[in-house]
Symmetry: C2
Subunit: 337 residues, 2 copies
């Protein structure tokens, strides 16, 4: 690998389901950092369903285009630094893209503390943990005694959001696909109930499991499941729009999936819906305070962390394709070997 | 009329468009107030599109049923009082139903101050004014410099909401049906622009009129117009769900109109949507403070009040049917003659 830099490029943008053919492996020479830049070697790549949305059009970042390197964040190690703030060996988080080595301006790196295991930095102590934390508490304003429903509940964000809700004294129902995931929710993670959306209609299952309506819905999926929970919301309920995994891997020319009950149901039941991006909450010391809470809960054993680690740089496309199909349980990472 | 009491009953619940055949006139004997009750003679009935929604199923009130008297609020005058709190001649507001006389428990009456004209008590100083006020300022949090869009903008609530937004220093676009209404918005009421939804596609018209995206959308209609404005929202925009007039008079067996972009667009643009019922904001002196503001603006000429008064008790059904078709400009009342 010395002297060369593997990169995974977008061969063409997907029109429907994401597949191997949309990616292509390339090799370039190792990047050389300019003054003020840092050379980073990626150790773990973080995968997230939202990466598929980046291929659909502009979101909270510019749309990806064919020919470009696939974008993505990684936990890396500084190999060479031409910036006073970083030294070889430092652990950093950055949007490196899918490549072995990235030369990046120092201001685009976040220095990471130590953690054991180090992969938690991309999981509960990273975007997933913070998204769950701020989505549930700052956006959803979940309080003791609330009935909380979380979708994609066996995923990275959902599994953490549901457990934080339990820690805060809520009754928690998780929605996931398949018995294995549902068993983990009610077994390992301590959710009060689980709804297997593949086993039957979601509306009556949520109605039964929530025992009197839903105060807070933490939505990671959109579409039919969003609608089924919407019609189960209680007076004054709060819906948190965190992700739309049901839509990312679909063919947009077949139309965007529409949701019924909007806005009528919001009036009758005095509901609110709010979409958010986790970095909106990073200011004023809130990020550090959240990380301190998360660390405390993990160390006390109240918050269990699910890891799903795939080995091999070349498996990045397959790992993302599988994530979109719901293959993962917990945070999916790719170890850069 | 002496000794008898005209009532308008629901002959049958509408399955599609509301029509005369869904109502029937009846006469009963004049009600006699019990101890603690007050006999009220209705002078003006307030009409609102939401009354049609009461016929669809439970909303913020129980569903209406066939055979029942049509529900509705009125400005009335106390004729006889068996409660210490009321005396003959008092002006009151109550859910009297559609009848000449109602005998109601005193706690279900609201004593009204004087106003000139008295009809403003059912309009800018009543539910319409307060709904516009709290919807725009407390729910939508409209601030100076915001770009505000209001739908059903020539209606009672919309016309007031748009003018309050202008008073608060916003740029205001109203959506209404037909050139006559649009001319009133930009002429009489001082809106910055108007979009005639009958004249062409709404999305590009709102895009052009809002000049760079919408901060606050005050929605009275739902459906396709809601969607067209949703896709024009700016980062951090706020949508206020106040009414769904597009859905009230439709056939529910043909399916509830679904909206695209929910929840995906809420994430990309960090939007929020909140439904409300005006009475949620009546506590803690807020109602009185709002009425003082509204009165100040009306008296200074900053807030113009549109009235649409239909004469004759027997015209109540036709007046409501016409309201649902958008015939009214401003608040539609029926004078009880």
């Amino acid at each position: 690998m010395a002297g060369t830099n593997r990169q995974i490029l977008i061969a063409e943008l997907p029109k429907g389901k994401l597949a191997q053919e949309h990616f292509r492996l390339a090799e370039s020479s190792m990047p050389v950092p300019d003054d003020g830049q840092v050379l980073v070697r990626a150790r773990y790549f973080a995968l997230d369903a939202a990466m598929r949305a980046w291929m659909l059009g502009p979101t909270y970042r510019a749309a990806l285009t064919a020919g470009q390197m696939m974008a993505g964040t990684a936990l890396g190690e500084v190999v060479e630094s031409r910036s006073a703030g970083f030294a070889p060996g430092d652990l950093v988080f950055a949007d490196t893209g899918w490549q072995d080595y990235a030369a990046l301006p120092a201001e685009r790196l976040t220095k990471l503390p130590s953690a054991e295991p180090v992969t938690y930095l991309l999981n509960v102590y990273g975007t997933a943990g913070l998204t769950a934390y701020f989505g549930l508490l700052a956006v959803g304003k979940a309080r003791t005694g609330n009935r909380v429903v979380v979708s994609a509940a066996a995923g990275a964000v959902g599994s953490i959001a549901g457990q934080i809700a339990k820690i805060k004294g809520c009754r928690v129902v998780g929605i996931a696909g398949g018995k294995a995931k549902c068993d983990i929710l009610t077994g390992t993670l301590g959710f009060d109930a689980a709804v297997d959306y593949k086993a039957g209609p979601v509306f009556p299952a949520v109605q039964a499991a929530s025992q009197g309506g839903v105060d807070v819905y933490f939505d990671n999926v959109g579409g039919a499941i969003f609608e089924a929970v919407l019609f189960n919301m209680k007076q004054g309920g709060r819906l948190v729009a965190c992700g739309v995994v049901s839509a990312y891997d679909a063919d947009p020319s077949k139309g965007i999936q529409a949701v019924r009950g909007v806005p009528a149901w919001f009036i009758s039941r005095r509901l609110s819906l709010r979409g958010f991006i986790v970095s909106d909450f990073y200011t004023g010391g809130r990020r550090e305070a959240a990380l301190a809470d998360l660390r405390g809960w993990v160390e006390s054993g109240q918050l269990k962390v699910l890891e799903d680690i795939v080995d091999g740089f070349e498996n990045l496309p397959a790992a993302l394709i599988g994530l979109l199909a719901g293959d993962n349980i917990g945070k999916r990472l790719v170890r850069a070997t």
